[in-house]
Symmetry: C2
Subunit: 212 residues, 2 copies
């Protein structure tokens, strides 16, 4: 691999992941990963544009940012690209009314969305809300639609909490795909549209970017 | 399609499915499908060998047979081929100690199985027991094994209850496959070994069989 000096030539912006890069989530708000608070501060003090790009879908941006600030990070809500707001934009553009299979912590992001008489399902990292009953509700909504639309906020297999590995949204997305014989639309990483929206927010082109 | 007379020439045995063929499961023991009680009686009164071959994995054979007898069917436990006993035989042969992600109704089939210090996962149609916590327990057991073994009792997508469509074991099998990057071993239909064991029980060859 090329040395850092060469790799940084032409770089104008940095996309930073949050979970597992800045901090490990877990009981009591999780813990900052060693050196990450200082690294963010140095990046933000440099000539580089910085944006936080996360697949976090258990919490609203407000809650996530509050938690990170308590851990010492210099970060504001407007600096975060997250799947829930991106999904809301898609729902509005396409006139979709979702059944929400999501964590209560992220529900506030969908406050402006009509959820009556659902004509699609939005699935996110719902944690304990991935009950059989809720999964079956989502399944039944999809099976009653002529053109079933399943929108998944990310497709991660699992993530690490301080207490151990935890199932992420991806396995549950696969479960509904198999049950209904359909393919989900993924909003969030690794979707190119999601990365593009993060880049647009800081006015940086893809070739000028460092992502970590 | 050939007329019934021709199709039955050389037929010596009949395999009958149970759920969705003899009865629809549901509250209060479900309901017999019209004509099925009489059809079973006529088959058993004929020269044909009859065996019941089911992927039912929410109930023990004893419970299932009790329910069917109450609906009027002439059926005994020894006439039923089901995935749970077939799985128990595999577990014993290979020295496997399962974490059981199953419905309480079928647990008695595993009474003779050592479940201490699990070195595999057995997943069945667990219904409400498909909680996030139980799925995560199964996931963590698999992730800690050098050679993760996941045995699935069937791989059905969904089944019909009197109250509507219900998610079967298949979607949850797919979820764990994706989470762990593994492939499950399916015990039950459509596995050829499972059909063979049903045929052996009535001493009939595959070409002498009618299956419905």
């Amino acid at each position: 691999m090329a040395p850092w000096g060469e790799r940084l030539a032409g770089v104008r912006g940095v996309l930073l992941d949050i979970s597992g890069v800045l901090y490990d989530s877990g009981a009591g708000g999780g813990t900052a990963i060693a050196g990450s608070v200082e690294a963010v501060a140095r990046l933000k003090g440099s000539r580089l544009k910085v944006r936080f790009c996360t697949n976090e879908s258990q919490k609203s941006r407000a809650e996530l940012v509050g938690q990170l600030r308590r851990l010492g990070f210099d970060i504001s809500e407007g600096e975060v690209t997250a799947p829930a707001p991106a999904a809301c934009q898609i729902l509005k553009e396409r006139g979709l009314r979702p059944y929400l299979l999501i964590h209560d912590g992220v529900r506030s992001e969908f406050d402006q969305i009509d959820t009556s008489n659902p004509n699609c399902v939005v699935i996110a990292d719902a944690g304990e809300s991935f009950s059989y009953q809720n999964m079956n509700n989502a399944f039944q909504v999809l099976m009653e639609l002529e053109n079933p639309v399943l929108i998944s906020l990310g497709k991660g297999r699992y993530y690490k909490e301080t207490s151990g590995l935890m199932l992420d949204v991806g396995p549950y997305m696969k479960a509904l795909e198999y049950a209904c014989g359909i393919k989900a639309e993924v909003v969030g990483k690794p979707s190119p549209e999601f990365f593009k929206s993060a880049l647009q927010a800081i006015g940086v082109e893809a070739h000028q970017l460092l992502s970590m």
